[in-house]
Point group: C2
Chain length 368, copies 2
């Protein structure tokens, strides 16, 4: 693999020195910021994540902070998900749509106060969309990227580790709920959330200064839990069915094609995409989970076309070998006319490909 | 250096296979797309760029295409530069500003037709800013990212190479002027432009299908000119004084701080930033070119703080050793109170640092 040239533009984080010392082997760039992708190896990191606990530098989950009298209005303009009943401190998964109903991002929106929201973004500059909308509509808001650096603690032992540092009350946090805790003389928001199916927390570290000590304290407290530096793991996230914006979803896809409409049962009439979304015909393609026969696959670097009976049938955007399930697993956009879940066979790269009912975790547990 | 994990999200380009075959050693990610940074070595690439001709895969210079009755209005809303006299086919360097007068990008805007513009962007999602503004104001425009893949031909022999493939009329193209030429059955826009001080052209390759043959034809035609795969070169671009958005300029800087206001002598009253820009006080810091004493510097990965008489005085965003000038050269934001150009001394990393009147190329030629 080629090297990554690191510059100020591919921003380092307050955890980067720790990540380097922990032996990071590869990065990607996410929201113009370094995101580790491999420490020991993709497979070693995977087994460890599923059995122990890891610290992830996910500073690249940048916050778009919207404050002011029109903050709630702007937050709602950007997503079809109804935010009217969102409680302070509650996280909601909020696909962002443009006026055409295409997906611009799939962030988590946190209501910090009645007039203050954090949009915790995937990899696209939603701050520019927010600033454009606010300027165009003359909204009374401030929109900034605050100095918040999320640190994820993920894995089956994550809760035990967090309780050692933040006390047993952290165990009471519900999924997508939050608490605030003091560390290093500052208050930090902590959510039960994270980009894995193993459970865990995300600490929205308040300012760069607190980061190194927080990392060191968690590492020290978790030594006997085999805590290790980690990162979102390609294999585990596909097993868990977690989508990646830019890979599985892009701005070329509508909300309905991505299946994210299930998070927006009531499409808010106050979202700019509502008129279009409400009159959209059934999509001609849909995001699906797949399994692929044949030899173990390495990460794909470009989409792989799908075929069904010789005809184009979509493309795979992510694929990888799952050691625990003993098959290649994938995510892709599949022609809607291939309706049946498991009895239709398509081929990708001459591999027999089966459409699953959901992520491999679900599909196997349903079969069991 | 760590490796780069390449995925669909860090998009490959229609030239990537050629770039790989040419032995690319390192990449960065730019507009969610691969941008080569090193082929032989930073220094070898530099000497070759200044003596021969290179092909650069700069597909990552994505186009934001704005079409429709309100296209000209939207293009003008985003930049303080007056576009009212722009001719069809003319390129203009057009800093993009938000309502606060902060710089969101520094693209080149090309007027393709009265109702059609291409904004050829640096590294931030200006398409989202454009979509937000258009939705907020209810503008009648279409905003898309077309399948255009810029290929730069740069170096002192670039014109000769281009003339061999596109004919001698290409020599008549003025700087930031364009011509259209046929290749592979398609018409392509060609501009005399590019991110080097060596002169050359950028071919806005019309569609992915034409790219491999275009690359091969130029390589074949330029064999005796020592044509080689290349990329924007860190050393050469700092020598030439070319700024890098995300490095030297960010959204935390105002137009006046960056010095880009000199491209906007008349601030268009139709730009959303105009009210703020027109009442902005003199900036407290300004972008400056610098030279640094001491041993040859490697590329810096983070900003380096500047001090003057023990007080903070700004920071350097880019620095590198210039073999041809025999000094380290840099770009940074310097406190405005350090006014005199050359007689004030600041220090960065314990290196004696001199503020230049302009890029090292200019500074030395003025001295000569």
């Amino acid at each position: 693999m080629p090297e990554l040239s690191i510059s100020h533009r591919t921003r380092s984080t307050p955890f980067t020195d720790r990540v380097t010392a922990a032996g990071v082997k590869a990065y990607t760039v996410y929201n113009h910021m370094l995101l580790p992708t491999v420490f020991r190896s993709l497979t070693e990191d995977y087994h460890h994540l599923k059995s122990a606990v890891q610290l992830w530098d996910v500073s690249c989950e940048r916050q778009v902070e919207i404050t002011g009298p029109d903050a709630a209005r702007l937050a709602q303009l950007m997503t079809p998900r109804d935010l009217s009943k969102q409680r302070i401190g509650q996280c909601l998964y909020t696909p962002t749509c443009d006026i055409r109903g295409h997906v611009l991002n799939d962030p988590v929106t946190i209501k910090i106060a009645e007039d203050r929201y954090w949009v915790s973004i995937a990899d696209s500059d939603i701050i520019l969309f927010a600033r454009g909308l606010a300027a165009g509509m003359g909204l009374d808001v401030q929109i900034v990227e605050p100095d918040i650096y999320p640190l994820a603690v993920q894995g089956p032992k994550a809760e035990d580790l967090m309780a050692r540092v933040f006390g047993d009350t952290i165990r009471e946090t519900k999924f997508f709920g939050t608490q605030t805790h003091w560390f290093g003389g500052l208050e930090h928001l902590i959510a039960r959330s994270g980009y894995s199916g193993q459970g865990g927390f995300e600490i929205y570290t308040n300012g760069a200064a607190a980061c190194p000590a927080l990392w060191d304290t968690l590492m020290e407290a978790g030594r006997d839990l085999d805590v290790h530096a980690g990162c979102p793991n390609l294999i585990e996230r596909v097993e868990a069915g977690l989508l990646s914006y830019g890979n599985d979803i892009t701005a070329r896809h509508t909300l309905h094609e991505t299946g994210l409409a299930r998070f927006c049962k009531t499409i808010s009439p106050d979202c700019i995409a509502a008129p279009r979304l409400n009159q959209m015909p059934e999509p001609e393609r849909q995001l699906r989970y797949l399994s692929l026969d044949g030899a173990p696959m390495k990460p794909i670097t470009r989409p792989v076309p799908l075929h069904c009976e010789g005809q184009p049938a979509g493309q795979i955007s992510t694929a990888i070998w799952s050691p625990d399930y003993g098959t290649n697993i994938a995510i892709g956009m599949v022609s809607a006319e291939i309706t049946s879940a498991t009895d239709k066979i398509v081929t990708a790269d001459d591999r027999v490909t089966t459409i699953l009912n959901g992520p491999i975790v679900t599909a196997r547990s349903q079969a069991a």
